[in-house]
């Protein structure tokens, strides 16, 4: 789980609002994020839009630790934000996540 220091923690959703190996969209203060729950029951957060053509990643498919863009199948490792090959070549920004009292919090800078 990322442990970076965040300027503020924002409640994104209930922990059980995301299925295992799935993703939901979270909009906050004019920005959009994608919140993931891995098959190992860990939570992660990235920017919500694909770095290729600005499509909402939360409409895409999660397979293990990979999120696939719903438009052109660009792939990212959502635990690190790393782009995993064509057509995406720019990494996704990731955010630290905490789960407290059944809520998922993401740390924004």
């Amino acid at each position: 789980m990322p442990t970076a220091i965040a300027a503020s923690w924002v409640e994104a959703c209930a922990a059980d609002a995301i299925d295992e190996e799935d993703v939901i969209r979270f909009d906050h203060a004019g920005r959009t994020f994608a919140i993931y729950r891995s098959p190992d029951d860990d939570y992660f957060a990235t920017d919500g839009l694909c770095t290729h053509e600005k499509v909402h990643l939360a409409d895409g498919l999660v397979m293990d630790t990979i999120i696939e863009c719903p438009k052109h199948n660009g792939r990212f490792d959502y635990t690190t934000g790393k782009a995993k090959g064509a057509p995406v070549c720019v990494d996704l920004k990731t955010y630290p996540v905490r789960v407290e009292g059944g809520k998922v919090l993401i740390g924004l800078d």
């Binding site: 499509v55 409409d59 719903p70 064509a86």
Partner: protein, 411 residues
């Protein structure tokens, strides 16, 4: 030993192959020869964002100068390939030194089929294939102007949608009895057709075009048999594409609806491969049925596969065909080959989205087709694609039941 690889054609397949050669450990020289002056760019936006977006469009670059340098790819831009000298293993170019090769990849794509009716010529019929053509068309699609599209396929309909988005009038003239006849099941084509009609696009089907005329005021006229003529400021023909196979033909390589390649994308010359729209290939998932696909994903997958084959790492090509097309806020996605299906099973989706599964007579899932907002269909089509790739035979009742997650059918 393979030390010099030349790729002729710097579109999606060629650029992808160049990168994949490095990803697979090739350390020799790579020359990527392109006819256009631009860096390699993506073509799908040419009939979409490049026509519609507010800002002056720029090509969506696949390989920047930095990435070309980083990967040691020599991009030979603005170069016309003249001939393949198979005996000498050289690609000859106009006004440049010939390029010697150990392995050659032909990724020359396809060109827009020309409209062959009396009166049609470069002064009155436009085409859309290159960035330059998209720029020219964009300038002509001004508010209030009138676009006439000949051909009710993907390019024609995406152009009509772009024209409406820019405030231009649009008429689509199709020769067949319905739109999107070649690649899309009739039910889905009807959804797309209805949406275009609702957006104010005039659609004429079953038309026979007699000739093109230029009117005294500089506008153009499409004369139809037995119907009123259609006048417009701009005429575009989107009537299909023809594989660019001239280099291969002149070099004596086997042809069959483009350049004929085997399951490893090798031509009839074992040192020459082909990838993308220019070639037909036997598809391992469909009993070796020979296909030629004109699709962005296939170009990428072919580029990857051809790179591996040229390095002796290839395997029989079996990537599931997949493509999409955008019309207003609707996306159409098709995975696999719906025409291989004997039975269609529909799964209800939220809103107006529609998803059909196509099952062969033996129950195997061979295709999936969907239309709707992209976010409503993309995930399901992707899962269907994976099931198709695994040659799965899912229970039709489960496919039809939206309460059953498609992911749960992956075994």
């Amino acid at each position: 030993m393979t030390e010099r690889i030349v790729i002729v054609g710097a579109g999606e397949a060629g650029a992808r192959a160049a990168l994949a050669l490095r990803e697979n450990g090739f350390a020799g020289a790579i020359a990527l020869v392109g006819e256009e002056a631009h860096l390699p760019y993506e073509r799908p936006p040419l009939s979409k964002a490049a026509l519609i977006d507010g800002d002056a469009p720029r090509p969506a670059t696949i390989l920047t100068e930095e990435r070309l340098a980083e990967h040691g790819i020599d991009h030979v831009a603005g170069a016309s390939a003249l001939a393949i000298d198979r005996a000498a293993h050289r690609l000859t170019l106009q006004d440049r030194d010939p390029l010697p090769y150990d392995r050659l990849l032909i990724a020359t794509g396809a060109r827009a089929r020309r409209l062959a009716v009396p009166g049609a010529g470069p002064d009155n019929v436009h085409y859309l294939r290159s960035f330059g053509e998209a720029e020219a068309l964009r300038r002509r699609l001004s508010p209030g102007s009138r676009l006439v599209v000949i051909g009710g396929g993907f390019i024609g309909l995406e152009l009509a949608a772009a024209a409406r988005a820019r405030g231009a009038e649009a008429t689509v003239i199709e020769m067949a009895p319905r739109l999107l006849g070649r690649a899309v099941p009739a039910d889905l084509a009807a959804v797309i057709a209805a949406r275009h009609a609702a957006e104010g696009v005039a659609i004429i089907i079953g038309a026979a075009i007699e000739r093109i005329e230029t009117l005294p005021d500089g506008r153009h006229r499409v004369v139809l048999a037995g119907r009123d003529p259609v006048d417009g400021d701009t005429i575009v023909a989107g009537i299909g594409a023809v594989p660019e196979a001239a280099l291969a033909a002149e070099a004596g390589l086997a042809l069959d609806n483009g350049i004929a390649v085997d399951t490893h994308l090798a031509t009839s010359d074992p040192d020459i491969f082909a990838a993308g729209d220019c070639c037909s290939f036997p598809h391992a998932l469909y009993g070796g049925r020979r296909l030629r696909l004109e699709a962005w994903r296939n170009a990428q997958d072919h580029g990857n596969a051809a790179a591996k084959s040229m390095l002796g790492l290839g395997e029989p090509y079996a990537a599931v065909p997949w493509f999409w097309s955008d019309h207003y806020d609707l996306t159409l996605q098709i995975a696999g080959l719906p025409d291989e299906g004997a039975v269609t099973v529909s799964r209800p989706l939220a809103g107006d989205a529609r998803l059909d599964f196509h099952l062969a007579g033996d129950g195997r899932l061979v295709g999936a087709s969907a239309v709707g907002p992209n976010g409503a269909i993309a995930r399901e089509v992707r899962l269907a694609e994976m099931l198709i790739g695994r040659r799965a035979s899912p229970d039709p009742a489960s496919l039809a039941d939206p309460a059953v997650k498609l992911k749960s059918l992956m075994v």
